[in-house]
């Protein structure tokens, strides 16, 4: 009887398996890797959704360069990936998936000048599946760059907000200068995500770098990849901010209320030496990695609330964290900046409603 049953079962499986259809054509239209020849490139390309930034040597002739591009299996790319392009301007590639239905449009920015000032005047929807906005910048050469990423990207995975202002990071016209400033608000999290994670609180965090979505659900701290190439010695991080911690309950990562804890904001910048062009510090080591050269951190007294009722100025010196002697001939470096409406927002704790506004940020360098 046992034998008969198992025979029947295998027959059923065989029957069902017999009906397996041909494999569908791939719907993926990705640029998996992008690089420029070593004569012009200063490092590895960094991906921020469909924006690819690559630092190039100052004065390099970019007018006719053949990049190295790899794309999804079976996909096609326009213009041809083996034809030379003028990377002194923004170059756009359109990748079409093997199924012919899905397309992605990539922008390549070859950047030759470092950026020191961030005024949050330009915001764009960088994600084709999300209504949130991310600040973009125009560098001294007038080139559009995408140094910023934010916690909006992860939050967009599970919310269906239709207005950019609903997301924890958005532009506000209540600015210190110019038209816009960056506003960050800590919001309620989704709690249980498919049995993988528990997120009671989602802070608004804006940072230089890009989220690596591969780890977004497994280890969110690993997913936040901080920094971009920086070729000067940073001296001070300056800017204007307005912060009010929520008077509501402080919630810990397990979702428990902690009456003994008050929320505070995070404003800091980390300058670190890289061992390889692709090296990035992430949420697990951004304040502890031995390669950290110096850190500018908003002092504790200024984190709980900004002084006064309007924008307050912060002017924080970079403090040495190691005996490393900065040498741009021998080493390469990266710099990251982060703003968050809850200091421990990366661990999914904070108070819902804490609000941080930041504007006119500058990294003051040694001339």
């Amino acid at each position: 009887m046992k034998f008969k049953l198992s025979l029947t079962l295998s027959l059923c499986v065989l029957l069902i398996t017999g009906c397996i259809q041909d494999e569908p054509l791939s719907p993926y239209a990705d640029i998996d890797a992008f690089s420029l020849p070593d004569q012009v490139a200063l490092g590895a390309a960094s991906f921020n959704q469909t924006n690819i930034s690559i630092y190039v040597r100052k004065g390099a002739d970019l007018s006719s360069i053949v990049p190295e591009i790899s794309i999804s299996e079976g996909a096609t790319i326009m213009p041809d990936r083996f034809s030379p392009q003028d990377f002194s301007k923004e170059v756009t590639y359109t990748v079409t998936a093997a199924d012919g239905k899905h397309q992605r449009e990539y922008s390549i920015q070859a950047i030759s000048v470092s950026q020191y000032k961030y005024d949050f005047e330009y915001w764009e929807e960088l994600d084709m599946y999300g209504k949130y906005e991310t600040p973009v910048e125009y560098d001294l050469a007038g080139k559009r760059t995408t140094p910023w990423d934010s916690s909006n990207r992860g939050i967009n995975y599970y919310v269906s907000f239709t207005d950019p202002a609903q997301f924890p990071i958005h532009k506000t016209t209540a600015s210190a200068g110019g038209q816009y400033a960056a506003e960050m608000i800590t919001i309620k999290g989704p709690e249980n995500i498919m049995g993988i994670m528990y997120i009671p609180v989602a802070a608004g965090s804006l940072f230089i770098g890009a989220m690596n979505p591969l780890y977004a659900l497994k280890d969110p701290l690993l997913a936040t990849q901080f920094g971009q190439p920086f070729h000067d010695k940073p001296l001070r991080l300056t800017g204007k901010y307005k912060y009010r911690a929520s008077t509501g309950n402080y919630i810990d990562p397990k979702g428990n209320v902690r009456p003994d804890v008050k929320d505070s904001c995070a404003i800091y910048s980390v300058f670190y030496r890289i061992d390889s062009a692709s090296m990035m510090l992430d949420g697990t080591n951004i304040l502890t990695h031995p390669n950290i050269v110096s850190v500018a951190m908003l002092p504790p007294g200024m984190r709980a609330a900004s002084p006064g009722t309007d924008f307050a100025v912060f002017d924080i010196p970079f403090e040495k964290r190691s005996n490393h002697v900065i040498d741009f001939e021998k080493n390469k470096y990266k710099l990251m900046i982060v703003f968050s409406s809850s200091f421990y927002g990366d661990r999914y704790e904070g108070a819902i409603g804490s609000r941080l506004v930041v504007d006119d940020v500058e990294v003051v360098i040694e001339e």
Binding site: T17, I20, P24, Y28, Q49, D127, Y129, M194, I196
Partner: protein, 252 residues
């Protein structure tokens, strides 16, 4: 809803009785009652299998028992009408490799509810165990003393639902094919609350009496109503209850 079914059932039995009364009385037994117990094998399955399913790694019926009572009114010695009630547990455990499978998972509760939409490639395990109260209406045909065949339909009311599982060893593209690629080691889903409250379909069965009282029964029930409502988008294709029950029947 339940009283509605009971009314229908009563009306049917009445119809059977009235029809039967119209025929000349012959020397055969008009009413036959049968109880049977069986085991359901099958699955909630898309038909045909969609291209997203690349490989079935394993399938097992789990505990899927059926208990039923049938009443047959024989109108002629070889033709009759059968109805009754059955408690059917329909379930399966299935492991499959899937590719480019679109899914929408509801996350969070209350004001906080969000949807995780994406295209998953990896391994899927689904465990279903749905309990139904089943009302069959069948034409019965007895060509030989030992054999009875029935063909008709059924209406079923969902009493208890379980449709859950996990996605593992793969990745999801958030939003769709062009979205962020997120690795998934193991994510759970539970669509139990979404399972449609009714099921209906075709039913065919055969009884072979190996003694005067006892028969071996085989019964195919083929759902024609997708097990999830049309506005459900957790699974990109329609699934139907297709089960074959084998059991032992006892003539009362």
């Amino acid at each position: 809803m339940k009283s509605f079914y009971i009314k229908i059932y009563g009306a049917l039995l009445l119809m059977i009785a009235i029809n039967g009364a119209g025929f000349a009385q012959e020397s055969f037994k008009h009413w036959e009652y049968k109880a049977f117990a069986g085991y359901n094998m099958g699955g909630a399955t898309p038909l045909p299998l969609p291209a997203e399913i690349r490989k079935i790694n394993s399938w097992s019926p789990g505990f899927a028992a059926a208990l039923a009572f049938h009443a047959t009114r024989w109108i002629t010695p070889s033709w009759g009408v059968t109805s009754g009630l059955a408690i059917d547990l329909k379930g399966m455990n299935i492991r499959a490799d899937v590719k480019y499978m679109t899914t929408n998972l509801v996350i969070g509760e209350g004001d906080n509810t969000g949807t995780f939409t994406g295209m998953f490639t990896g391994k899927n395990r689904t465990i279903t165990r749905n309990g139904y109260l089943v009302l069959p209406v069948l034409a019965a045909y007895k060509p030989y003393e030992k054999w009875t065949f029935r063909l008709g339909g059924y209406l079923a009311s969902l009493q208890d639902a379980n449709f859950a599982g996990d996605a593992s060893d793969g990745y999801i593209r958030n939003g769709g094919a062009a979205g962020d690629r997120i690795n998934i080691e193991k994510a759970t889903f539970d669509f139990s609350d979404e399972v449609r409250k009714i099921d209906a379909g075709l039913m065919a069965s055969a009884d072979w009496f190996f003694t005067n009282k006892m028969a071996v029964t085989g019964q195919l029930s083929w759902g024609l109503v997708p097990i999830f409502p049309s506005d459900f988008n957790g699974i990109p294709y329609k699934m139907y209850n297709v089960y074959f029950m084998t059991g032992i029947a006892y003539k009362l």
